[in-house]
Symmetry: C2
Subunit: 395 residues, 2 copies
């Protein structure tokens, strides 16, 4: 039978990366293609203890329906934490718990965008979010990335040219896929432009707590005195992605509409894991764990980058990121990038062609994305040697 699909969904393809992941899931291929947190970053012992305690003392609370906004004590704790530590959240803001940060993108788009409205994004950007915007029939306008964040000139050009721009989607810290961190000056400039043109900013910060060197740059949300920034936070990189707990800090009027949208979408986020996050933040050494994670990623990022230098040398140009999970490498102009990716996987290493992250997937790019959080250190060494050999035949 031929099914008639909605316009929004008919052109949408499964994420190229998740398809690569599925293909390599049960094989010996070394996955530089994923975005999974390092397994050694999961606080397994704490999760065991807290889970047992929840089910011993609060089983009904954990298993019964909850309210859509989220478990109230967690909302309060997290609000206080974000305000104290990051200056995020004003009196006009509200924090709601979501089923992973991806749901923040989903609800923001649901609440703000009609079909055909425009979302401005960094180009390249996180494919999951791009697909989310596409799934609401939004038009995407890409603004090219530079080493210190997107081009502010191009952003203003886009704001002038595009009709019905509803929001600007940004990953200011260790952007996926480029690894770039937006400078403070650009954050301020982007905020002022959003204000000037009357559009919202959706600030996605999944990697903020993975900084391995240098100082934190204030988030755009921390500058938000006008109620124009929606902040998306996640526990996927600091606790566990499998538990699907994220949150948003957004102007209360928006958060209320997002709540209505979430009620119709999945009712509420799992109570058990909201309790678990609450206990973990309240009773365990949350800050100490973040330091541990930074130390893990410091080792893995530097290991991979050092090996890029020795194994690939001038075959690639890249900027060493200050955090995040990815390194973005440009191949020489005369190299057939897709052919290199193909050769890599045939030799046992999966990498993602940069085109997967382009707003227009047909746009030419010489870049590939390498992930260092998923493979073990041994596999990083092994995989980089394979890539080095593969590169030789392209020189």
């Amino acid at each position: 039978m031929d099914y008639l699909f909605s316009n929004r969904i008919s052109s949408l393809k499964p994420s190229a990366i998740r398809e690569i992941l599925k293909a390599t899931a049960n094989s010996d291929v070394i996955a530089f293609s994923a975005g999974n947190p390092a397994v050694e970053s999961f606080p397994v012992d704490a999760v065991r203890e807290i889970s047992a305690d929840i089910l011993a003392t609060r089983p009904i609370l954990a298993l019964q329906y909850g309210v859509t906004e989220g478990y109230e004590p967690l909302r309060q704790l997290l609000s206080d934490y974000m305000k104290t530590k990051y200056n995020i959240g004003r009196d006009f803001d509200s924090l709601i718990i979501t089923s992973g940060a991806t749901q923040v993108m989903d609800l923001t788009t649901k609440v703000l965008c009609n079909e055909g409205d425009t979302v401005i994004c960094e180009n390249p950007s996180f494919i999951g979010s791009l697909n989310c915007f596409r799934s609401y029939g939004c038009k995407l306008r890409g603004v090219n990335m530079q080493s210190d964040g997107l081009s502010v000139e191009e952003l203003e050009q886009a704001l002038k040219e595009e009709k019905n721009v509803r929001f600007i989607y940004l990953i200011p810290n260790f952007q996926n896929p480029t690894g770039a961190t937006m400078s403070l000056a650009k954050r301020k400039a982007v905020y002022e432009l959003a204000k000037k043109y009357g559009v919202m900013i959706l600030e996605d910060n999944p990697y903020g707590d993975t900084r391995i060197k240098g100082d934190d740059v204030p988030s755009i949300k921390s500058m938000d005195e006008d109620g124009i920034v929606i902040y998306a936070g996640s526990f996927s990189k600091v606790l566990s992605p499998g538990i699907r707990v994220g949150f948003t800090v957004a102007p209360a009027a928006l958060a209320a509409k997002m709540t209505v949208g979430k009620q119709a979408g999945d009712v509420h986020t799992t109570m058990f894991f909201q309790l678990l996050v609450y206990d973990w933040m309240k009773k365990y050494d949350f800050e100490g764990h973040i330091e541990k994670i930074k130390s893990i990623y410091r080792g893995k990022l530097n290991l991979m980058c050092d090996l890029i230098d020795t194994e690939l040398g001038d075959f690639v140009t890249y900027n060493r990121p200050e955090g995040g999970l990815f390194v973005w490498c440009d191949l020489p102009a005369d190299v057939d990038m897709p052919a290199f990716c193909k050769a890599a996987v045939e030799n046992g290493v999966a990498i993602v062609p940069g085109s997967a992250f382009m707003v227009d997937e047909k746009e030419k790019t010489q870049a590939v994305r390498l992930n260092f959080s998923t493979p073990t250190d041994e596999k990083i060494v092994e995989g980089m040697k394979i890539l080095g050999k593969a590169a030789k035949s392209f020189k």
Copy 2:
């Protein structure tokens, strides 16, 4: 600041019931207004044992990202179970795991409906689903309920009159809110009508395993040789609603699109609880637990209905349901229904005015919905006596 919301979301209101619930959450009001499963139905000991085992033996699998379609062994187990026990699922079908059954409604609408397309539903129907369809800008066309399911004549009339009908939404077993079970003859007739008019059926079956007397009526999906039925299943009533695990059995082409939609919406359902459901079905006495649940609800349903008879007498007319969580009571024509609901809550019992479930909330109804699963037996007795007294002043 004034925010401009999408068309789909601007007219959507929070569920009246969830608002009543929030208002009564921390009060002494007896909640006949909720739809929570009875807490004694949760298999707490099994959940404790399985959780400990998962975190002892498979912590990384439980905490890491999973694939969007769901945990493969669970998909397989559940497919086999649905096929063997209910004759649900053909070679052309595929089963995917969702974040509660509500997400099946969300994904079905996302995949099938453009804004302005029509969804035909039973009238009255489950407000959560109605709001889900509304959240995609769908037009709702209600077909009136009768004691043995919706009016088939009215359904055909609607199919003739409405343009761009994409699917018919049905809760054939112990419908929320009416408690009615659709007869086999009507299920067959509805299937044939859907086929004749080229529309899909979305069959929502959250209460199927709560039947307290009589025999199961075959599901519409079990008749589906043409790939026109999407089945929504849930673990909320047999295991726990807080874990947010549901599933759909749908034609593979649709399931593939739903997967793409889910990927953009919440990436995947919590791995931990997928593992938990798998272990529970595989290693525990799943069927025995369902019998236990039926026994709990048999007691509570009969307790409430017996008390309706003794305390309310001919103040209400109703059909005693054969399962589900709700009793739908019609008040006499000359009684001011909203005033009765108000009097009830002022005297300490929250009930839901039937208007909350009408496709057109302004449509007049004399009905109220009573829930017997949430309150304890003692509270059912106490609450029904209060309602009985309140009724006296309306006679």
